[in-house]
């Protein structure tokens, strides 16, 4: 029965009939749950949503959503999503990827997606390890990390996904944490609403191969001191007692204690709309244990979107030249008749 009234959907309407097969205790469950919860709030019909993934544990995600979906090949989901969005700007397209899929084998596509600013959402589940291939180091594994493919420790300098994204002029950059469900839900919603490429790094725990990689940011005891929540227009304040802040010393951030002559006005204020990416980049460089790690929206600016511009060119060309006539094209230029 076709009707124009959009039925009220709930989280369960967005779950598919497939059994979820992540390891028990995997951080992916939480991300899936938040996604299903956010979806009905976006006002987009299920048939207009597409999830595209590459290869890896995270990339099983599309199977578990009752939307359109494609589980594709290693690292290429951004390119597939770009092609889809170029011809179907009407769809809401999400890319689900991991630190290996997105930054290693798919690194090239990742950076070109960011610089083109195609209007789609990319979620990078970062667990700093290869899960599906069972425990090799990833591009985000820290130096010295011992694992199957680096028994003497990792000697590859790790990539910082947010710095890379910002370096590629990404227009929306955010970070959240699998178990920080309220925060994660809000970030997903902000990403969905952004016009342009929205990049979200999600700290995700792999309890089999890299358990506790982000414990500093998730444990009740330490998280208030090791993370700082970004809010547009607000100073960077953190700590159990909300008594610590980030101040700029020249061009370098430093941790300071409030009181003792330092007030909120002395602190760094967050500006997610800064036209230059310098501020967002500086925030992306703040790493534990020297600094609390920022979570939330680093950058949200409006820039031309590739898919929109492409379709504008099509419309402009039609306006100028009409919709074209192949017979006229075949007969253009020099022709001759044989009788």
């Amino acid at each position: 029965m076709a009707n124009d009234v959009t039925p009220v959907l709930t989280a369960s309407d967005f779950g598919s009939d497939q059994d979820v097969r992540w390891c028990p205790g995997c951080g992916d469950y939480s991300i899936l749950a938040q996604m299903k919860k956010v979806m009905p709030q976006l006002g987009v019909a299920r048939e207009n949503v597409v999830f595209i993934s590459g290869i890896g544990c995270s990339s099983r995600f599309p199977y578990y959503m009752n939307t359109y979906g494609m589980h594709s090949i290693h690292g290429r989901a951004p390119a597939i999503a770009t092609g889809l969005k170029c011809v179907r700007p009407d769809l809401q397209v999400w890319v689900v990827t991991g630190d290996g899929d997105g930054l290693s084998i798919g690194g090239n596509h990742f950076l070109h997606l960011m610089r083109r600013n195609v209007d789609l959402k990319i979620l990078l589940f970062n667990n700093r390890i290869y899960g599906l291939t069972k425990g090799q180091y990833s591009p985000t594994s820290p130096l010295g990390k011992l694992n199957k493919s680096a028994p003497m420790g990792v000697i590859d300098n790790p990539l910082n996904p947010l710095s890379v994204a910002i370096g590629c002029e990404a227009t929306f950059v955010a970070r959240s944490i699998d178990v920080n469900i309220k925060h994660l839900g809000e970030v997903l919603k902000r990403a969905a609403e952004h016009k342009g490429t929205a990049f979200v790094e999600i700290y995700q725990n792999c309890n089999i191969f890299n358990d506790g990689a982000f414990e500093y940011a998730t444990s009740k005891d330490s998280k208030l001191d090791t993370t700082v929540e970004l809010e547009h227009g607000k100073p960077l304040i953190f700590g159990k007692n909300k008594n610590k802040g980030i101040r700029l010393n020249g061009t370098e951030p430093e941790v300071v204690e409030l009181g003792k002559g330092i007030s909120e006005d002395d602190l760094l204020f967050h500006d997610e709309k800064a036209p230059e990416a310098t501020h967002a980049y500086l925030l992306s460089r703040m790493r534990h244990p020297e600094f609390p790690e920022p979570i939330g929206v680093f950058r949200a600016v409006d820039q031309p979107k590739y898919d929109v511009e492409l379709n504008k060119q099509v419309a402009a060309a039609r306006e100028k030249k009409g919709s074209g006539d192949l017979d006229a094209l075949f007969n253009s230029g020099e022709t001759w008749t044989v009788s």
Binding site: E47, M65, V87, R88, L310, A317, T335, W336, T337
Partner: protein, 626 residues
Amino acid sequence: MSTTIEQVPTSTKQTTKIPSATIRFAGDSGDGMQITGDQFTRTTALIGNDIATFPDYPAEIRAPKGTLAGVSAFQVHFSSEDIFTPGDQLDALVVMNPAALKTNLGDLRKGGILICNSDGFEKKDLELAGETENPLNSQVLEDQYQLFKVPMTKIVETALKDLKAAGMSTKEVDRCKNFFALGLVYWLYGRDMDATLRFLQTKFGNKPQIIEANTKALQAGWNYGETTDAFVSNYKIDPAKLTPGKYRDINGNTAMAWGLMTAAKLSDKELFLGSYPITPASDILHELAKFKHMGVRTFQAEDEIAAITSAIGASYGGHMSITTSSGPGIALKGEAIGLAMMLEIPLLIINIQRGGPSTGLPTKTEQADLFQAILGRNGECPLPVIAAHGPGDCFYVALEAWRISTRFMVPVIVLSDGYIANGSEPWLIPEMKNLKKIPIKHAPEQTDGSKFLPYKRDEYLSRPWAIPGTKGLMHRIGGLEKQDVTGNVNYEPDNHQHMTNTRAQKVENVALEIGPQEVEGPETGDVLVLSWGGTYGACRTAVELMISQGHKVAHAHLRWVNPFPKNLGEVLKRYKKVLIPELNMGQLRTLIRAKYLVDAQGLNKVKGRPFAIAELTTAIKELLPK
């Protein structure tokens, strides 16, 4: 603009009527030989001769000036009869410098016309070509050819002295000498200059000085032929008796691009091309990029993998999707071709083959990617493969490939090659109303709550093309093995066997649509020449020649190289010997021998050049009964 046969300015000299000629312009890659050849081709096509061309240029954009590596050439074969190749031996050769002479003279027939720009044979030019003596002074050239030493640079300088006085640079004046050479050859073969004059107007409309200079150079060339005593006769070649209708000149890449746009129109689709620049395929991207107003979206991807995967995304979204490349790029696309095969979506993968492996001979032709097309993927991954046989055929190959791709929900590999892509021939202009529609169905929306079955198959074993945005059809697909019908991920042993068989059968079913293999020549006989792709013209000409000499020789040309036509095995057995000429080391031969257990013989060459007819006739004669 349309025109009927032109009035050719009449020469007062003696005119000799000949059936056909093959000429080549050769010079430094900065000498404008490609444009000269192209102008000669257009003009000759307008006169109504049948034509076939072979542009041949170096891989370097600008190899060091005057060197052997920098020689650029353009060959045109034109005739009053149907022809299918750019010709074996040259009747006339125009060379602008010693390097061009050295690298091209071997192809000029004894007694042929050799026109040399004698001003291009200075000491420095000779050194660059590695010569110590000026070959123009050698008696050998005089004895073996009709040698014309023409001081083109000086004549052009004289002809353009007014323009030089008005401020035109020496370099600009010198650049006009290719049009002098063109004018001289126009005189020699009784061509009209009008089409070239129109070309100059269009191309340099805002640069009147350039138009004037080239016009004067062209005229000077014509006058030189007419007035110089050296040339006693020129030649006349009557129009060819082609199928009546309206013609234009077209090269393979343009025909492919237009065919793709036509296929989109005939199937009520808009076209998406994901591509990464590569020689000799880039011109398809360039051509398609001009047609945004016709709903063509071209995406210049960051690499070959993004090129094909973006096309997969667009196909998933319901568009006509294409990726174009050449062998090395196709190698990179391999994994994604496998994905498209598992997804069972329509997609055209177009390979304009070039010399390989690896970077190989980027600007030279070869047909050595047949194994790659048929076998070059992981797993059991058969796909339909179609090969164009000539420039104009690329148009129809594009239509046919898209029809099969959508009917069978399968990616189709389309093979062309550098020789077809850049070569041109007269093309009987089709009319849209006479071309067959390509009907496409998408799975309709389902609002009754029933479960959508993405791998439920029709009588051709095709699954439905269900596109995002359609209500009630939400489903997930991907590269992992699918359970038949439901499309759910499935690792069961019997299911994988079943799906592998089904996908292979689907490709085999394409043979039902392509009809039986036809043969030119006797139904049975001594030798069957079996060919595919760009060797068509040479094979056809060679076989026609053998038949005219009374031999029992026939020709079968494969358009689809996978699957083979149903009756191919039976056709092969009707001849005592089978010869498979290929510009590779025997790829089709291996497939044919494996499948049909026929002792097929090969004629194989990888020299970056097409077959000469003589090479084929020699090989055929060796197989004839003694």
